[in-house]
């Protein structure tokens, strides 16, 4: 579904990603775990066209994405819920969802998907007329995920959905991520610092350190890997 090959990204003299390769199989959840600053968000930003790559290749359903502008990539069926959520704080909850469906013309389908999002996150329905800036961090994360779903993507990239959110809401959000994957058959690439949760819900896992993939395996195996346990799972 999504294949990254030897992706290199740099800012000026600094190289952020030193040739990263990973695959996300159709219908699966894959996760990329790593510490803050390891290059996780950079990779997603390069895939979705927000920043240019130096070299390498990103294939989505066999089509090369590198070199395409961000606003055309989402049209291909790849949605990106970015780091820090980036909901439009000046727009209402409902408008944020409509922005997610910006490229779609099927009014009935948009309304149906909006209702799906509202069913999944009833909080958003309660607050549909509120400006998004007034939502809590957890609600904003729900909105960011819902907004990404509104483009009706075939693959969804989530950047740290657990970041800065009350622990109770984190559990809810991860349940919903699994639900989206099962119910909609949506392929998901999940980027997380919270390795525990990420490895639990995903099938394939990758560990990134300072711009390099240092480990990759099935998530079950990664959870038992001593190195992962030591560095990412709190050593127990």
């Amino acid at each position: 579904m999504l294949e990254v090959r030897d992706l290199q990204v740099g800012y000026g003299a600094i190289t952020a990603l030193h040739g990263i390769s990973l695959r996300v199989e159709k219908g699966s959840i894959a996760t990329l775990i790593g510490a803050n600053g390891a290059g996780k968000s950079t990779m997603l930003r390069a895939i979705s066209g927000l920043i240019p790559a130096r070299s390498g290749s990103v294939l989505f359903e066999g089509r090369e994405l590198l070199g395409q502008p961000a606003h055309e990539i989402v049209a291909l069926g790849l949605a990106h819920s970015p780091e820090g959520r980036m909901v439009f704080a000046n727009l209402s909850v409902e408008e944020n969802l409509r922005m997610g469906a910006y490229l779609r013309k099927d009014g009935a389908g948009i309304a149906k998907d909006r209702d799906y999002v509202f069913d999944m996150f009833p909080r958003l329905k309660e607050r549909r007329a509120q400006t998004a800036g007034t939502l809590s961090g957890g609600e904003q994360q729900m909105l960011a995920i819902g907004r990404a779903l509104m483009s009706r993507p075939r693959c969804l990239m989530l950047d740290e959905p657990s970041l800065g959110i009350a622990p109770m809401l984190v559990a809810t959000i991860f349940e919903k991520i699994v639900e989206i994957n099962r119910e909609l058959g949506l392929t998901i690439l999940l980027v997380e610092q919270n390795a525990n949760l990420a490895l639990e819900v995903s099938q394939r896992g990758y560990v990134i350190e300072t711009g390099r993939i240092i480990l990759e395996d099935e998530c079950k195996a990664l959870r038992d890997n001593p190195q992962v346990r030591e560095s990412y799972l709190g050593g127990h």
Binding site: S48, G49, L50, P69, A70, H71, E72, V74, A75, A79, H80, P82, M86, V87, F88, A89, N90, L91, E95, R98, M99, G100, Y102, L103, R147, S151
Partner: protein, 311 residues
């Protein structure tokens, strides 16, 4: 010699309508500054010169249109305004594409200085004898001559018309920004361009549209301003541009309602200060003094919210 006696000039209704008309013009110009600031976070100093180009476009096209539409009339005014608005929308979009877009990723100061460069380029090109020339030239008459009498006040037709036109344009603008897909995209781009592009928004298109819209409003303002004045010249945009820019700041830069409020406020201040014996020479000092006072108490402007600069 003035044709009015001082009593008439100071008539309260007349003063009010004058202030409202002038303020409406400032408001229309201020909207352009504030919309561009909203999407790009910089001040388009060439905006005032677009206004001037609108006035010249009107001056050239009005006689031609008058040939089709007959003499001065409301229809002639509207047709002229429409042509000037279309011309200026094109010019505004061209300026953005040629001068500002290539610098989009550069520091804001670079773009700001470029805007000053574009402004000077337009002003001095326009003053060249082969272009418009530096001399003031008469502006064609678009509305029938004669004033209206109301409760002892002498009101010019254009001064009565300007607030009406402005209200209609504002209503249209509000619908566009708040109720259409394009307007929603403009608001989204103004909040976060990266996030907007992840939704499939082509930022270039939205920014270009914003420049076109702001420039069209400047053209409307330019024509109305010229109808009120004795003539037009290549530097005519500077003063109303400066005042409208201040209006946008005092209202809260980036806020459309603030631009209108600021414009009306400055138009009124200028008119009332100008109408007081002995103060008229200080009208700008009074206007800008008030600005300083307002900004001391509300640094983000009347309707602006204090914002943390995003990294």
């Amino acid at each position: 010699m003035l044709s009015f006696d001082p009593f008439e000039l100071n008539h309260p209704v007349q003063q009010f309508i004058n202030g409202l008309a002038l303020g409406s013009i400032y408001a229309l110009i201020a909207l352009g500054y504030t919309m561009v600031y909203g999407v790009l976070r910089f001040i388009n100093f060439a905006h005032a010169d677009v206004l001037m180009l609108g006035a010249y476009a009107a001056a050239f096209v009005a006689p031609v249109l008058a040939g089709f539409l007959g003499g001065p009339s409301l229809l002639l005014l509207f047709a002229t305004v429409l042509v000037a608005a279309v011309v200026c929308a094109g010019i505004g979009m061209l300026i953005e594409a040629l001068a500002y877009r290539p610098l989009r990723a550069r520091p804001k100061l670079t773009v700001l200085i470029t805007a000053i460069g574009v402004s000077l380029f337009i002003e001095f090109t326009a003053q060249h004898p082969a272009v418009f020339g530096a001399k003031t030239r008469p502006f064609p008459q678009l509305l029938p001559a004669g004033n209206l009498e109301f409760a002892g006040a002498t009101l010019s037709r254009v001064d009565l018309l300007i607030p009406v036109v402005t209200v209609l344009l504002l209503a249209g603008l509000w619908v566009l920004v708040q109720r259409t897909r394009m307007g929603m995209a403009m608001r989204a781009v103004s909040f976060n361009q990266n996030a907007a592009s992840l939704m499939g928004v082509n930022n270039n298109r939205i920014i270009s549209f914003t420049f076109g819209l702001g420039s069209a409003l400047a053209a409307v303002a330019g024509v109305l301003y010229s109808v009120r004045s004795s003539g037009i010249d290549p530097l005519m945009g500077i003063r109303p541009g400066l005042i409208a820019f201040s209006a946008a700041v005092v209202g809260g830069i980036g806020d459309l309602g603030g631009a209108v409020l600021g414009g009306l406020l400055l138009g009124m201040l200028e008119t009332y200060a100008g109408g007081v014996e002995g103060l008229s020479n200080y009208r700008d000092a009074i206007s800008f003094g008030m600005l300083v006072v307002i900004l001391l108490f509300r640094p983000a402007g009347l309707l602006g919210r204090a914002q943390v600069e995003k990294v």
